[in-house]
Amino acid sequence: MLIHNADRRMQIYGALLLLPAAVLLATFAYLPTIATLINSLFLPGFRGEPPSFAGLENYQLLIEDQTFWRVARNNLIYALGTIPTSIALALGMALFVNARLPGRGFVRMAYFTPTILPMIAAANIWMFFYAPQIGLFNSLLGALGFSGVNWLGDPSVALGSVIVMTVWKEAGFFMIFYLAALQGMAPELKEAADLEGTSRWSFFWRVTFPLLMPTTLFVLINALINAVRVVDHLFILTKGGPNNATNLLLYYVYENAFSFFDRTYAATITVVILLVLAVVATVKFAILDRRTHYQ
């Protein structure tokens, strides 16, 4: 009986330790998720009427919504454009600043600076780069005798411009994770490989890259989440335009909720985003985790 009691007390003790985190998670993650799910089943009420239950009507609307598909396609292109590029760039930069080079600390700081800038400030800087007449890029092109490009105004270029800025912003952040992982690698591994005449290229693919897999997986998930989390720099740069060319999912949610005041439709899109993210993350962990060596 005494042992049983002690066991029970330990369980209560453990539950109490978990309580603060559980309360915060429930308040700010689980409850809103459930509320969103419920909201998505209603149609908005007008003139003070309560919202009316509509079942899956919102989802029906979503499937027929051309803009939604446009935005989803944009987001896919955006993800494919930013994730591999920023990860590869981050890894390259980390390898570079991990080596012995003069002014290493300065270079590391320079690479990390975009990350500590607030998104709004960074977007404002890039506005100056992209501005059609006085912008940095067009001034440079003009000096070389080329005619300028309307970086954010041309529907075929605008999404690319947004992607470039995101890569610039994210790569430095991911670099920090790679750098930390590289610093944790024993230098003897490289020495042991050197003694066997292993080329740098071969060492990278046979040792460094596999040992960085846990970091890559972590960064990949982060990059994916970031790719569907974009609101702020669209707000400054393009407002989703021109003609939805740069509109992305979360910004579309924002528009629906706060510009068109269709909260339930916004909730529907959110639920779809959550589902897609959950599926992708599950697949990633299931497949990549098995091939990843954790130390």
Partner: protein, 393 residues
Amino acid sequence: MISNDHQRIRLEAVSKRWADTAAVDAISFDVMPGQFVILLGPSGCGKSTTLRMVAGLEQASAGRIRIGERDVTFLPPGDRGISMVFQSYALFPHLSVADNIVFGLRSRKVPKPERRQRLERVAELVDLGPYLERKPAQLSGGQRQRVALARAIISEHPICLMDEPLSNLDARLRGEMRREIKALQTRLGMTVIYVTHDQVEAMSMGDRVILMQDGRIVQDGTPDELYNRPASAFAASFIGSPAMNLLPLVAGDRGAVIAGEASVSVAPVDAAGGQLGLRPEDIEICRESAQGVPAKVLDSEYLGADTILRLAVGEQTLRARLPGKQPLEQGQPCRLAWAPAAAHLFGADGHRRDDLTPHAISAAEGRSHGEGDATALPPQSANPPGNAQGIHP
């Protein structure tokens, strides 16, 4: 084995400087094919740096390194024809034991069937057969050590460098691996340079020991020479456990005496200002009535096979090692004696002095208490054994 001259390693005035400190200061030595050479010294003496320069992991600041007829001073590590075992083993954590062992063969593009063949042979040699599919994290320290050894052996490079390979193992395993490494080296005819700070490893494994201090070679000789004819007070104190006693000598009436103990002269007067070295195992303890240097027992440490006594002589303390259990009491006066060959004289600069002959300190001369006094036995050994057991719980 005459044709394997390509295994000879020669260092010519090799130095390594960082900023303005010299980690290794113009050292030269030759390692003959098939030799097991130990680089021994306290931490920071430059032994590891020397090894890393031979490996090519560190660039020499000055001097030349030759392997066989080739000048390898500026060659990358992979082109020197050497393998190396690291203190941390440097195993690739994500690769299986088998992949770890053949890592270098893959780098050198050895065809797969040959790789498998060599792996089989080496795995048998180091007893790793059942573990080939495991990851290093699933192995014990001794097994990891074997993987590191296997990786060095499979390359079939004639020269193997080892950087404190046993220091991460526990004492029992260390003794086992010592014998195994030595046996493998003999069997495969490898040339080995082995870095350690452990004098037991140096004495038991080395054909030759190079003792270093502050980036220079103090003594280069067989373990036997290091033990019996230490070249300096440092060498004397580094080899042997407990270390050699070093007693300062001052001028006395009839020659040099141990500081604070003027009654017996132990060396010619020229030795004053230097030190007298005595190995603990060379000291005889005699009765108080015998001749010899007067001393007093401070304490004793019983280790099973032998007993370490701490003795006060004049102002000095020294250690003596006696076989078995010695029931000597604290504060008991006694006399010390030793054979002339057991006494080593070192000058004020710490170097060995072979120009002076230490005096014989024999217990046999004195007869103040009858005839039996010359026996080198402690007085209480005549007590009934029950008494001694009564003291020792």
